[in-house]
């Protein structure tokens, strides 16, 4: 780079010759040089500023663009970071204790319409009315021609129906995927499962919600995706439940009853192996709730849990057991049974006259109201109340059903002496068959409290002690005697040593005034095998009447007991119980291998 000299010789000489100051020339040149330098530097600075500005502009522009994209895009799950099994969004299955499916899901389609997109609404309405007979062509056409943008046609359709709708070829008829709850066994265990319906519905999916039974009680568990599809395991046994329903339905028809209920409970764990309430319904097509009349006439009514009735003489064993536990009586103490027993204006009578005295065992075997009432008088109201409370009779059952809290037992506000006497033989205190099953299980399993449950248990939790082992064994022996030589003689099932107590209670009038004539609730509460208790079975028939004789017989011994015996005959082998056979001669040497 050549620099212009500050004092160019030619101009200096010329200036000197003309007498000018040559320094002026130098100063002018210096100023010009400085100006050029400043220009140069300004240009560089401007360039730098431009680059910097551009960089900032690009950086901010990039950030702005990214923010715009983030704000405008649809959120997406980070797939790359997901580990383990993919999220299963379906509602969990419900299975029985052996893993057989009681409720599962099925992928179906829903059908909806966008009437504005329809080319030929008349043809679409005609086609739909042909495919779905319950739809009216005129109504559909009116809806299609109104100015609605959207309407549901059907919530669920089968693949065949879907193809048929497809063949109509209307662009306004659209399908959305839809999950459907399926109960493959139909009405089996209907009251326990309850049913499901749709909550919030969208075109792309719909929320399945439980409306009753375990479906409602465990709704949040069944919907929780954290379970990863783990099923809800119930304590029911599908095979036993099916057999119980079949036999009970037959028994109900034979005994001309209008309703029936049965509860089979594991005596140690309180697991309900089978629970039936008849009449029943199909949870796939749940009937509507009755809006008028008595809810207990609806098939939705679960008699085993919600049916709170006075259950009659089946309660006697509680009074007798408590008296034995308190040391008031022994199994062979003689009890005064001269009747009628008067208390104020009440008179307590027996079914027939059993003579002046009966042993405690015979009070149970012959089902003497007077004898039981006399024993209850010795116990007293307070102690009786505490004992029944310890067996769970004074609170709704803790069963895992949405309906369980409605099965609230009824008892007199004033637990007077006469209440004590009537409650001792099962009148005055109303409870459900599940209460009774839990009470019998607690009393007879060796004397520890069990809580009824519908969930499969893997461990046996020993509850608080209710009565001693000896009293429990004595109570079982008394119940066995009832079947061997008492009111439940039809209850004998060879090989299963059934023990039990009958109960026949008049139905109270709905208007609250006294009892119906000729309408009873007959109950058989049983335990089998009595010598090694495994299960408790309660069978209740509503208004039964056995008409084979000259006059209708309504007592439990003629109605509930034969039904229960047949149920035990069918269910015990399914439960894996071997009949206990008395061998005529002892088996000699048994070869086990050759």
């Amino acid at each position: 780079m050549s620099r212009a000299p500050l004092r160019p010789l030619a101009r200096i000489l010329k200036a000197r010759a003309s007498g000018e100051n040559p320094d002026v020339i130098e100063a002018a040149n210096r100023a010009r040089r400085h100006e050029a330098m400043a220009d140069n530097q300004r240009q560089r600075a401007e360039g730098r500023l431009l680059v910097l500005g551009l960089a900032f502009f690009l950086a901010f522009g990039l950030i702005g663009l990214r923010m715009g994209v983030l704000a405008a895009s649809i959120p997406e799950e980070p797939r790359a970071s997901a580990v383990g099994s993919p999220i299963i969004g379906q509602r969990s299955d419900i299975v029985d204790r052996n893993g057989r499916i009681l409720a599962t899901n099925l992928q179906t389609y829903s059908l909806y319409a966008h009437p504005r997109n329809m080319v030929d609404p008349a043809n679409a309405a005609k086609g739909l009315a042909e495919i779905f007979p319950e739809l009216k062509e005129e109504e559909l056409l009116a809806q299609f021609q109104s100015d609605r943008r959207f309407l549901w046609v059907r919530r669920q359709i089968s693949p065949e129906q879907m193809q048929a709708v497809h063949d109509i070829g209307s662009p306004g008829l659209l399908f959305g995927p839809r999950e459907m709850r399926l109960y493959p066994n139909g009405p089996i265990a209907a009251h326990i499962l309850g049913g499901a319906s749709y909550g919030r519905e969208g075109v792309a999916s719909a929320e399945v919600i439980g409306v009753a039974g375990v479906e409602r009680e465990f709704d949040s568990f069944l919907r929780d995706p954290a379970n990863e599809g783990a099923p809800l395991e119930l304590s029911l046994d599908l095979t036993v439940q099916a057999a119980a329903e079949q036999v009970l339905e037959g028994g109900m028809a034979l005994m001309n009853a209008k309703g029936a209920a049965s509860v089979l409970m594991d005596i140690r764990t309180g697991e309900i192996i089978s629970m039936v309430s008849l009449p029943d319904f199909d949870p796939n097509n749940r009937p509507r709730v009755l809006t008028t009349g008595d809810q207990s006439d609806s098939p939705l009514f679960n008699r085993a849990v919600q049916g709170v009735y006075e259950l009659g003489s089946v309660f006697k064993i509680f009074a007798i057991s408590q008296a034995m536990e308190l040391g008031l009586v022994e199994a062979d103490t003689l009890i005064d049974t001269k009747g009628p027993l008067s208390w104020g204006r009440f008179r307590i009578r027996d079914f027939s006259n059993y003579g002046p005295e009966l042993s405690t065992t015979d009070v149970i075997v012959k089902s003497s109201n007077i004898g039981t009432a006399r024993i209850a008088m010795q116990i007293g109201a307070e102690r009786q109340r505490e004992f029944l409370d310890s067996l769970g009779f004074l609170a709704p059952t803790p069963l895992e059903l949405a309906e369980a809290p409605t099965g609230r037992p009824l008892w007199p506000d004033n637990w007077s002496e006469i209440s004590t006497m009537t409650i001792s033989y099962g009148h005055g205190l109303s409870s459900s068959p599940v209460h009774l099953a839990a009470g019998y299980a607690s009393l007879l399993n060796g004397g520890t409290r069990v809580e009824p449950t519908l969930l499969r248990q893997t461990t046996v939790e020993q509850g608080p002690r209710v009565v001693s082992e000896e009293v429990s064994a004595l109570a079982r022996d008394m119940l066995r005697q009832v079947v061997v030589r008492g009111t439940a003689s039809f209850g004998e099932v060879p090989g299963y040593a059934v023990g039990g107590k009958t109960g026949t209670a008049d139905k109270p009038r709905l208007d609250g005034g006294g009892y119906y004539e000729g309408k009873v609730i007959s109950t058989f509460a049983s335990v089998f095998p009595a010598n090694d208790p495994k299960y408790v079975l309660i069978v209740t028939l509503d208004e039964p009447s056995e008409n084979s004789g000259s006059e209708p017989r309504r007592t439990a011994g003629w109605t509930a007991v034969p039904v229960a015996a047949e149920m035990i005959r069918r269910m015990a082998p399914l439960l894996g119980l071997r009949p206990q056979v008395d061998l005529a001669e002892p088996v000699g040497v048994t070869l086990t291998s050759n």
Binding site: R79, T104, N185, A242, A243, V581
Partner: protein, 119 residues
Amino acid sequence: MRGLFFVLTALAVIGLAFWAYQENYKTQTAISEVRSLYDEIGAAHERLGMLRGEWAYLNRPDRLADLADLNFDRLGLLPLMPEAFGAVDQIIYPLPPIRPITNPIELSFEQLSQQENDL
């Protein structure tokens, strides 16, 4: 020296950029593969659920009872009753297996009639 350093740096940047580009595409391929696998698993779950539902429906106790009734002539199935249980000593021992014949005796009609004539 400095020139070489600049060239090497530039080459390294180009190389790293190329590597990052490839990794990016590999990752995206893997992600889309995972996505399609998830879709497949979902579809398989759905199919499995359908099959399980169908299995449960076809094995529902009512249907099995009806089938047992229909085929009673051939199968003779009855509900399980207490009589179905037996004792150990009711089971017969397996029959001893028939040994292979090692020493056969040849017999023919003529020989037999001969022997009878001799007697």
